[in-house]
């Protein structure tokens, strides 16, 4: 189904990146999917969607999908009565008819005819089994990141996608974010604005209030799931069901849950996988949890710029440092990317060529210079570097009109979902197919291991390949 020269059949970062840079926004037609064939024969051009899992993350995805025309939500599958009912009613409120509802995905895939797509937003340890089942059933799949809680699970997803010939997009939504794409394609590669990239740094620091166990003091009766069903689907109890991110058998923990988003950007922008990593981690506050509550990791890359070193931290006990962002540091500029515009910026090194032409051509907008700090006692002025000039990083999310006519910023996940559904229609190519998501995620699977062993890990080709 896919063009063998593109998408999931293609391997290697450089070829992928070259393709993306050539095709971004071009809307290439790569295949002739069934959707188009049906429309050509006078059938419906609706894409029939199954929502697999309807927890918090699927709610976020569904809110974005509601803005995408041409989707019909045919089925909802979740083992929780509460989640399933919420999904059914949200779909009913949106499209005027309730979807079919299922507890079990096998039953759904067996009973439902005409499904085109599955959107998988289940706990991480179910991503791979659910995705593989749907691909093998002939569905195109959008699956939340992290691909799996194990690297073998992720490998199975790549193999299933390539064997099925179906599309499999992984939910690293920044890959379709206009600001990130603009930064990578126009500024870093196009204008080579950062000069030689030498270092990267990122963080996701989350406050204690945002890191508590879900479920509160008591779990309401309406939310409870029968114990036999919980056990059947791999959960020991309701605490595991609601807090699967805290358990080692069910997820990769904070470095996977939060860190994967940003380490993916490191690898994407650097067009390489790290050659080694070294992590240190601990349970500074949540001592009873299986996963670390703070993880710090060093990376080494060999890139087209030469050697690059990076540092990543995820902390779940403090929001220090302004939440979550990534820094790409080069000889001529530092680019700070984030999903939130207010946290994004680009800083010109004082010795770099002027950006006046770029401002004139509309590539950048200069921010007003901050007030000069007062001289501090003991400072030796001649040793201090001049403060870099700060510029806005363009490419914010565009506006979207909701069903009831309100104009709001496009939800952060919508561009990535749009890219997926456009690809299903044969009008685009995936921005984050399973193989390339695997290449980017693979190093992340070794971070907890490095912290456990308190030793660096050489990331050989064998470790990082499918």
């Amino acid at each position: 189904m896919n063009d063998p020269n593109t998408s999931s059949q293609e391997s290697g970062f450089l070829s992928r990146r070259r393709f993306i840079s050539q095709s971004a926004g071009a809307g290439l037609v790569l295949a002739a999917p069934n959707i188009l064939k049906a429309a050509e024969k006078g059938g419906s051009d609706k894409i029939h969607v199954a929502l697999v899992g309807f927890g918090k993350q699927q709610e976020v995805l569904f809110a974005a999908m509601k803005n995408i025309p041409g989707l019909h939500f045919q089925a909802v599958c979740d083992i929780s009565d509460w989640n399933r009912k919420k999904g059914m009613n949200q779909v009913r409120a949106h499209q005027g008819s309730a979807p079919e509802a299922y507890v079990d995905i096998d039953e759904m895939l067996s009973a439902e005819k005409g499904l085109d797509v599955a959107v998988v937003a289940t706990p991480d340890f179910w991503h791979s089994p659910h995705t593989v089942k749907c691909l093998e059933a002939g569905l195109n799949v959008y699956c939340e990141k992290m691909m799996s809680n194990t690297i073998d699970g992720a490998r199975a997803m790549v193999k299933a996608a390539e064997a099925s010939g179906k599309l499999c997009q992984i939910g690293h939504q920044r890959r379709s974010n206009p600001r990130y794409r603009y930064t990578f394609e126009q500024l870093i590669n196009g204008q080579k604005i950062a000069g030689q990239l030498t270092n990267v740094q990122a963080q996701w620091n989350r406050s204690l209030g945002a890191s508590q166990d879900i479920g509160g003091k008591k779990i309401p009766k309406g939310v409870q799931v029968d114990e036999a069903i919980l056990n059947q689907y791999g959960f020991k109890d309701m605490h595991q069901f609601m807090n699967w991110r805290l358990y080692r058998d069910l997820s990769g923990g904070p470095i996977s849950d939060l860190g994967a988003h940003q380490i993916d950007i490191f690898n994407w922008f650097l067009e390489a996988q790290p050659k080694r990593l070294y992590a240190t981690a601990g349970k500074a506050y949540f001592k009873q949890r299986e996963h670390f509550d703070n993880v710090l990791c060093l990376f080494d890359w060999e890139t087209k710029y030469g050697e690059v070193r990076g540092f990543y931290q995820v902390l779940t006990t403090t929001s220090s440092g302004g939440g979550f962002w990534e820094n790409f540091m080069g000889t001529e500029a530092t680019i700070k990317t984030a999903e939130i515009a207010a946290t994004s910026a680009i800083y010109r090194e004082s010795g770099a060529p002027s950006w006046d032409d770029l401002v004139g051509q509309g590539y950048l907008k200069k921010k007003p210079a901050p007030p000069k700090p007062a001289a501090t006692a003991g400072a030796v002025a001649s040793y201090e570097s001049a403060a870099p000039e700060e510029y806005d990083l363009p490419g914010g999310l565009p506006l979207v009109t909701t069903k009831d006519g309100k104009v709001i910023p496009k939800p952060a996940h919508q561009p990535h979902l749009e890219n997926f559904f456009a690809s299903v229609r044969g009008q685009a190519t995936l921005n984050c197919d399973a193989r390339h998501a695997f290449e980017s995620e693979a190093p992340i699977f070794y971070i907890n291991e490095s912290a456990d062993k308190q030793a660096p890990i050489e990331l050989t080709e064998e470790l990082l390949s499918v």
């Binding site: 949200q90 209030g209 910023p409």
Partner: protein
């Protein structure tokens, strides 16, 4: 509808929230234009002179998921403590366990009785979700009462602001006659119930406390029109205090 607007609101502001300013509709996620509709809006008064400070059991903070940027028409500060507001001695909680009706009689999830069940925790199972667009919930106190305060929690496990929060009191269950609006932050009258003078606010575990001013009525109706995270309407708890 005959509305009488009482321009007071009860929120305790002490720390600046990381919230962008902008209009209810439109603007990108970095929008930073101040609206004029709510500039200088009313703030919390002290309440009844010689009264007692109203207290309630506050829920714990529990934030879930990735924060979403939200847009409010004026710079906003989050509370760090419950408001200190005085009500006449002898004021009691009138709404616990009282029946609730709604413009959406088939909630998306949850049930209307959650609104007066006394549980204010964040998270699944503690809230009712109503359809998108302008929706209301209505509490029947059982008899006409003097209402001195209404304490409201929409949804506090994610920082978000609800649109067009309007609180009304009446003896008419249809709210066609004798309606008193005690709180309204619909700064552009998009709900069609009159332009409000109060500033939109971000949800926290401290909730929103509105001054009832001793208004007499049997019914309390609360309106909203979606929020900055999604189009739906949510309620965790509403407490009506009076005599």
């Amino acid at each position: 509808m005959k509305n009488k607007l009482i321009l007071t609101t009860l929120t305790a502001f002490t720390s600046i929230a990381l919230i962008n300013c902008g209009g209810k509709d439109g603007g990108d996620e970095a929008g930073a234009k101040s609206g004029d509709a709510t500039a200088g809006s009313a703030s919390l008064g002290a309440g009844t002179e010689g009264g007692v400070v109203l207290e309630t059991e506050l829920p714990d903070e529990l934030i879930e998921g990735t924060p979403k940027p939200i847009k409010l028409p004026v710079a906003h500060e989050d509370p760090t403590a419950a408001p200190q507001f005085k009500v006449p001695e002898g004021t009691v909680l009138l709404s616990k366990g009282k029946p609730v009706t709604s413009s959406d009689d088939a909630p998306i999830i949850g049930s209307l009785d959650l609104i007066t069940d006394g549980d204010k925790e964040a998270g699944e199972g503690y809230y009712v979700e109503l359809l998108d667009g302008l929706q209301w919930v209505q509490i029947d106190l059982g008899k006409e009462s003097e209402i001195y305060a209404i304490w409201l929690w929409h949804f506090h496990s994610q920082k978000r602001a609800y649109n067009d929060v309007i609180i009304q009191i009446s003896n008419d269950p249809k709210f066609e006659e004798g309606v008193t609006t005690i709180y309204n932050n619909d700064y552009d009258d998009s709900a069609g119930l009159g332009k409000g003078g109060f500033a939109p606010y971000a949800e926290t575990r401290f909730g929103l406390l509105a001054d009832g001013k001793g208004t007499k009525g049997q019914y309390v109706r609360l309106h909203s029109a979606g929020n900055t995270s999604n189009e739906m309407n949510h309620y965790i708890e509403v407490e009506v205090y009076g005599k």
